[in-house]
């Protein structure tokens, strides 16, 4: 089922979704675009390349409250916080970011103790994937194609969208998406030639090249294991690193968090808050021991986590090539250039 609407009717579609639940979509704000819960249907803006923060914020917000307490009250008075989770429509997610959800699922819910917050938020959400504009030149910071993700890859979306000038096509990919699209007013059926355009676009999305091609996750993982203790290498690639948290905060697959008790005037909330392995005190123990006092050790942790540990523990590379870490790094450190240097050009070939 391929449906369509026009860009100028986007507010109508938005309003329709807002009636059914919470609509989260890209919004232009100071500094760039971000996914936000929409309060006014006119806010939805699809003329964007990608957001600053990844849409992981929807399932894994920067702060998630666990318990409210009072330091004057006994522990039995502490109240678990019931997160307000309504049916949610996550609108306009780029294919590489959609892929990140699947990678995060492995960590949060498919292995070990399931994380109830991720699960509930994820289950409540219908994802509207949105193809990159392949008529534009590829963004130099991005490399999703290198990691096997197409610019118009509908995998993992419930509904997949594609913009052609002022027309927006919407195709149901999952049964949930099918159900939803069928019941949305204001959409019309696409014509046969449009269906062909849509299918061709998706097929050609796989040929839309970003930086490099062909990556062998297993081989990369092994390569990083082999050079883990090569301090010269890690010092060299981390010389410029400021050890700030940008790369991890904007990353769609970084999941580290701290659990903080934040008390004001005796009333407090225990919550999780994003943390970053790039911060000096991330591994500082109460004894004073810190296994990662040096910048190179922290950058090594970050890169090896994504390109080695994660592969060995969970299978896939924990990176989708969205390019945010590279784009927002204040000193232009590029994660894939480091991968490239680490594997000494053995496992990829230039496009």
């Amino acid at each position: 089922m391929l449906k369509k609407t026009t860009i100028d009717k986007l507010p109508e579609l938005a309003a329709c979704l807002m009636e059914k639940g919470t609509l989260v979509a890209p919004v232009k704000e100071a500094g760039g675009f971000n996914f936000r819960a929409i309060t006014d249907a006119a806010q939805v803006d699809l003329i964007f390349h990608n957001t600053i923060l990844s849409p992981k914020t929807v399932f894994f917000p920067q702060t998630e409250d666990f318990v409210r307490y009072s330091v004057y009250q006994p522990i039995l008075e502490a109240k678990p916080v019931e997160p307000e989770i309504r049916p949610t429509f996550l609108f306009g997610v780029r294919p590489c970011d959609v892929k990140s959800f699947e990678i995060m699922d492995i960590h949060f819910t498919r292995t070990g103790v399931p994380d109830p917050y991720w699960r509930k938020r994820r289950d409540a959400t219908i994802i509207f994937g949105f193809a990159f504009d392949t008529s534009e030149e590829a963004d130099p910071a991005e490399f999703y194609h290198t990691l096997g993700i197409g610019a118009a890859d509908p995998d993992g979306s419930d509904v997949f969208m594609l913009r052609r000038d002022d027309v927006l096509f919407l195709k149901a990919v999952s049964p949930r998406g099918e159900n939803l699209l069928g019941g949305l007013a204001g959409l019309t059926d696409a014509a046969p030639d449009e269906r062909k355009y849509f299918d061709d676009y998706i097929a050609q999305g796989h040929d839309y090249k970003t930086r490099y091609t062909c990556v062998d996750a297993e081989a990369i993982a092994k390569e990083f294991e082999a050079i883990f203790h090569n301090t010269d290498f890690w010092t060299k690639v981390s010389n410029a690193c400021l050890s700030c948290g940008i790369c991890t905060f904007v990353c769609p697959t970084c999941y580290c968090f701290d659990i903080c008790d934040e008390t004001q005037f005796g009333q407090g909330v225990r919550r999780r808050v994003w943390d970053a392995c790039m911060f000096t005190d991330f591994t500082l123990e109460a004894s004073g021991h810190n296994p990662r006092t040096q910048v190179y050790q922290r950058l090594r942790q970050k890169i090896c986590h994504k390109y080695s540990f994660h592969i060995r523990k969970y299978g896939p590379i924990s990176c989708v090539g969205c390019g945010r870490c590279t784009r927002y790094c204040p000193v232009n450190i590029d994660i894939f250039s480091i991968v490239e240097q680490a594997v000494q050009a053995k496992w990829y070939k230039r496009m």
């Binding site: 666990f66 318990v67 307490y69 330091v71 006994p74 522990i75 039995l76 502490a78 678990p80 916080v81 019931e82 997160p83 960590h107 949060f108 292995t111 070990g112 103790v113 994380d115 109830p116 917050y117 509930k120 294991e225 883990f228 203790h229 970084c254 999941y255 580290c256 968090f257 701290d258 659990i259 903080c260 008790d261 008390t263 407090g268 225990r270 999780r272 943390d275 392995c277 991330f282 591994t283 500082l284 123990e285 109460a286 004894s287 004073g288 296994p291 990662r292 050790q297 942790q301 090896c304 986590h305 080695s308 540990f309 994660h310 060995r312 523990k313």
Partner: protein
């Protein structure tokens, strides 16, 4: 969200506080469960840990010092931390009295591999306050229902001074038993100390436990471990038969918060117990 939420602690009450050492900064806290359901759910084995949780202060991962054979309560031996980061939780706990209530999340992590230890001779080596989960293991093995499942048990336990030995009454009781060989040593004795003097590695060399069908379970300060391991290699223990427990800074305790990894393993959920063979497979990043 409160049902089976791994981030929400269960309430426990301090039923007993034992001042372990003469510096008064290590105490054993005995907790009873406020809700009987929680007691049923808190099924653990020696070597596991739990998060002690005090709202407004935070959480602190601590090894379980009691044994599952101790019915009705659970114990933790806690040092008041704070060399660099003030140990907010441990300080607050040390300031509490019997009857006080805190939160408990757990049990967490993997235990000492009990099935693997069965029918083997067990050499337990501990130093200072890191003896807690070893105490749990020894108590568990010595229990009348369990003693026959294990071979010879040797305990080598050391502290800097006699006053810094934990669980003094139990050590005395073990020394009197014939089904366990207990060797207590201190780095430096005092006028009333009649026992051994000497560092743990030297005592291990002296005692020279046989590697035959034996497993060494070692916990202690890093410097003790560093010098003890070569002794056991020399005695002929294989890397698979030397076990230890790692410490890293932890938060969630369930392998989600990403803090305590050593290579591809999370110390909280994949450990904290590792054999030396397993550790050799990990990068030296701890």
């Amino acid at each position: 969200m409160s049902e089976n939420n791994p981030y929400i602690p269960m309430p426990v009450e301090i039923s007993k506080i034992i001042d372990e050492v003469d510096t008064h900064d290590i105490k054993t806290f005995r907790f009873t469960f406020v809700n009987k359901d929680d007691e049923q759910k808190f099924v653990y084995l020696p070597g596991q840990f739990a998060e002690l949780s005090i709202y407004g202060k935070g959480e602190s991962p601590i090894g379980i010092a009691s044994a599952p054979t101790d019915a009705g309560y659970v114990e933790f031996t806690v040092q008041r931390a704070g060399a660099i980061l003030p140990g907010l939780v441990t300080s607050a706990l040390h300031d509490m009295d019997e009857g006080g209530r805190i939160g408990l999340r757990g049990p967490l992590g993997h235990s000492w591999p009990i099935e693997f230890l069965e029918k083997k001779n067990i050499v337990v080596v501990g130093g200072g306050f890191a003896f807690t989960t070893l105490r749990s293991l020894v108590k568990y093995m010595l229990h009348k229902d369990n003693r026959s499942r294990f071979g010879d048990i040797t305990v080598i336990y050391g502290a800097r001074t006699p006053g810094l030995l934990c669980y003094k009454d139990e050590l005395a009781a073990w020394e009197k038993r014939s089904d366990i060989k207990t060797i207590i040593t201190v780095d430096k004795g005092n006028e009333t100390w009649t026992g051994r003097e000497g560092f743990v590695p030297a005592v291990c060399k002296d005692v020279a436990p046989s590697p035959e069908n034996a497993v060494a379970v070692i916990c202690g300060p890093p410097v003790m471990i560093k010098f003890t391991l070569p002794v056991f290699f020399e005695l002929g223990f294989s890397k698979e038969n030397i076990l230890t427990s790692l410490e890293m800074r932890m938060k969630c305790g369930i392998g989600k918060c990403g803090r305590c990894n050593v290579g591809y393993k999370y110390v909280c959920s994949d450990g904290p117990v590792f054999s030396l063979a397993e550790l050799e497979d990990l990068p030296r990043d701890f």
